[in-house]
Amino acid sequence: MEIPTLPPQGVTAHTRRWRRVCKAVALPLAALALSGCTVPSFGASEGVTSTSRSTYHLWQGFSVGAAIIGTFVLLLMLWAVVRYRRKGDNIPEQSQYHLPLELLYTIVPILIVFGLFAATIVVENKVVANPTTSVTIDVNAFQWGWKFTYPGSSAVVVGQTTQDPVMVMPVNTDVHINLTSTDVIHGFYVKEFNFSRYALPGVKNQFTFHAVSTGTYFGQCTQLCGLYHSLMYFKVKVVTPSQYASWLATFNNASSASAASAAQTAQQTQNATHVPSKTTASSGAN
């Protein structure tokens, strides 16, 4: 088995990363200089779902606040250490309290906190909303792979460690996910969705994605789940609704018996030895 490389996406990942690094560093400064026509990204990206964009905007809001407060406090400190460095042996005025000032720096942060909380609640309600949907995918995490089942059809995708199973979902459609785990806790995380959720044994976690652009996106287990945690990848392929329908149809056309046996085979490989083919990943339990 070879570890698959990133599919070509027009711009290489390397370039994208450099752009992002430059954006994160340069844009806040540029925004300050140009009195900010656009809000900088602060290192994040808007992602490809409707909720990932809400999260991104919340991120920007928090970042603007943090940048302003951080800069203000650092400037105060800088002023203090430059202006009030020791010049002689005199003893300064021993002042200790200034009630109006103390009230100011207590009440203003409280107001800021409630502002942040209000913004949080607005976005949170969008992100955790579960509208009724026509498409449902059951996602099951196991050591060390993923199984995507499509209720109402015979489509099942299973893959482990280096096989990178692909979760196919339609674009511009609400897709309901039921997330479970068969053994330990795993983390279902798709970077371009700006979202993660634990796959818990004994709990069905439910959430909804509404992808707004097609493409293939990487997903990964983010919660430590044992030896091959680092290799528990999957892909999310967002396709047009017609492509999605024809993809589902390939499973329905195949005889149900062969589909079931394919799934059976895939399940059995889980129980085979889990040593990945990647030789550099020197492994071996204990």
Partner: protein, 565 residues
């Protein structure tokens, strides 16, 4: 306030000359003197810092290539588990409340020793035994614990993590947990009952205040962890099903128990270091701490809030009430902000002396500001969904804990001369500061970007994403700088060994520990000054420069007052 200082109180001289204990190794083994126990704690915990730091350097070396092969996947899991465990359980807490607080708190309140000296000794021996027990996992056939320092069920059960390493981890943590509980009892009892005449609660130094609140938090939080660990052990060996679905248990229960301890623990670790900085900044600014009472109430409200925020570690479980834990977590920013403004207010219009201790304290404030601001993001559930278990979180808490290391170093440079009687070299100290401070930023800032690029934590290899190498290398450079700073500290201790006698009060200190000798005698004091404010030593040395009463804003400096006696 009285204008005329009276004679210092002479303590009865018996009890000092009478003390003829054993000497040498036997003295160290049998002592109940809080200063010697505290020094043992300090040396042991700094050793733990070095061990945990070595694990960190190996982790950084492994991540220097996408397919790192320095260690195996299972060894990597052991390394980051033990790195976190050693740093959190065996370094940061014991260093603060077992080490410096143990030595300094009784002296700051004018007490001869801790309230329960033998219990204090037991604390240290439990801590040492627990540390050895936990680290002994590396010498078992299955290796050390490898389920992360949080030991999430069901990964930590006997099916997924068989082997003695995990049991030794549980045992070691139980022992150090009991040691912490006993120290908490001791701190509370000492501070409530052994204060010198005149040392009212609102005249206690902020460090002592913070240690009192830390002691209370220890008593509230650690028993919960102890219970949780015993249940985990029962699940592993006695067939109970408290955390396993199969027997009707609930895996997430472990997370609730762990974080009900774990979030107060964050403040159990942080409050002592806040206290150190709050004692250091006023001394080197030649001013009383700004907003003393506000500072105390900020500490109390941090402690109160910290008991109601644990589930912000569990937002992505999908089974906790998001808005409640979000607002509680956000609110902690308010008292923390008050502290930062108080530190700046203390420096304002002061006369700042940039000693190594002061530089380290300033480095703490800047680093903690970064860690604090990024913590606010994580209190917002949507942003937590976005960054949870990525390097953004790793970067956030490393900004915070590296700030604590800076504060700890400030504490060592500030109180070290009091404990040993000798000053540390300031030139090497300042070099150490720059390596530590800049190294910390070079180490953490790339990790924030890595997290935003989607790199999950606890990854031994990242073959799919070789583009993460550059930021990882930058971070490793910072880790190397931090390593060099630690070496510089060791060099400094060796170079300055018994070279420059410190005298009783090298920094023109404010609090009682600077009134006694360096090192203090057995039972700490031959005499005490009148305690009329939270700065008895300053008042004694500068009778004309007492602090302004609450609410008075900038009146003229009062005339020199008579200090004859």
């Amino acid at each position: 306030m009285t204008d005329v200082l009276e004679h210092p109180i002479e303590t009865p001289s018996h009890g000092h000359e009478e003390h003829h204990g054993p000497s040498g190794i036997l003295k160290w083994l049998t002592t109940t003197d809080h200063k010697i126990i505290g020094l043992s704690y300090t040396v042991t915990s700094v050793l733990m810092l070095v061990i945990g730091g070595l694990f960190a350097e190996i982790i950084r070396a492994q991540l220097s290539t996408p397919n790192g092969s320095l260690v195996s996947l299972s060894q990597y899991n052991e390394l980051f588990t033990m790195h976190g465990s050693v740093m959190i359980y065996l370094f940061a807490g014991p260093f603060a409340f077992g080490g410096l607080a143990n030595i300094i708190v009784p002296i700051q309140i004018g007490a001869p020793d801790m309230a329960f000296p033998r219990l204090n000794a037991l604390s240290y021996w439990l801590y040492l035994t627990g540390s050895i027990t936990m680290l002994a996992g590396f010498f078992t056939a299955g290796g050390a614990a490898n389920f992360g320092w949080v030991a999430y069920a069901p990964l930590s059960n006997s099916i997924n993590t068989p082997g003695a390493g995990a049991d030794l981890w549980i045992g070691g943590l139980l022992l150090t947990g009991f040691s912490a509980i006993f120290t908490g009892v001791n701190l509370c009892a000492t501070i409530f009952y052994l204060r010198a005449p005149g040392m009212t609660m609102f005249r206690m130094p902020i460090f002592t205040w913070n240690m009192l609140v830390t002691g209370i938090l220890i008593l509230l939080a650690f028993p919960v962890l102890t219970a949780g660990l015993i249940m985990l052990y029962c699940d592993r060996h006695f067939g109970t099903h408290i955390y396993s679905v199969a027997g009707g248990g609930v895996p997430v229960l472990w997370q609730h128990i762990f974080w009900f301890w774990g979030h107060p623990e964050v403040y159990i670790l942080a409050l002592p270091f806040f206290g150190m900085v709050t004692d250091i900044i006023p001394v080197f600014s030649r001013k009383p701490v700004f907003g003393y009472k506000g500072m105390v109430f900020a500490t109390l409200s941090i402690a109160a809030l910290s008991l109601g925020v644990w589930a912000h570690h569990m937002f992505t479980t999908g089974v906790v009430l998001l808005p409640f834990f979000s607002i509680m977590s956000l609110l902690i920013a308010v008292p923390t902000g008050i502290k930062i403004f108080n530190w700046i207010g203390t420096m304002w219009r002061g006369e700042i002396w940039f000693s190594t201790a002061m530089l380290m304290a300033l480095g703490f404030v800047v680093t903690f500001l970064i860690g604090g601001l990024t913590g606010i993001y994580l209190a917002s559930p949507p942003l937590d969904f976005f960054t949870h278990d990525t390097y953004f979180v790793v970067a956030h808490f490393h900004s915070v804990v590296m700030a604590l290391v800076l504060a700890g170093m400030a504490g060592l440079y500030y109180w070290g001369p009091k404990i040993t009687g000798y000053l540390l070299n300031e030139k090497i100290g300042k070099l150490q500061f720059w390596f530590l401070f800049l190294g910390t930023q070079v180490f953490t800032l790339p990790l924030y970007l890595l997290g935003l690029e989607g790199m999950p934590r606890r990854m031994a290899i990242y073959p799919h994403d070789p583009q993460w190498k550059m930021l990882n290398d930058l971070s490793s450079l910072g880790a190397a700088m931090i390593g060099i700073s630690t070496l510089l500290f060791v060099v400094n201790v060796a170079v300055s060994w018994k070279k420059h006698p410190a005298g009783d009060n090298p920094w023109d200190g404010h609090t009682l520990e600077w009134f006694t000798t360096s090192p203090p005698p057995h039972h700490n004091f031959y005499r005490l000054p009148q305690i009329r404010s939270e700065r008895p030593t300053w008042d004694y040395n500068h009778p004309g420069h007492q602090a302004l009463a609450h609410g008075k804003h900038a009146p003229a400096v009062p005339a020199e007052k008579v200090s004859t006696s």
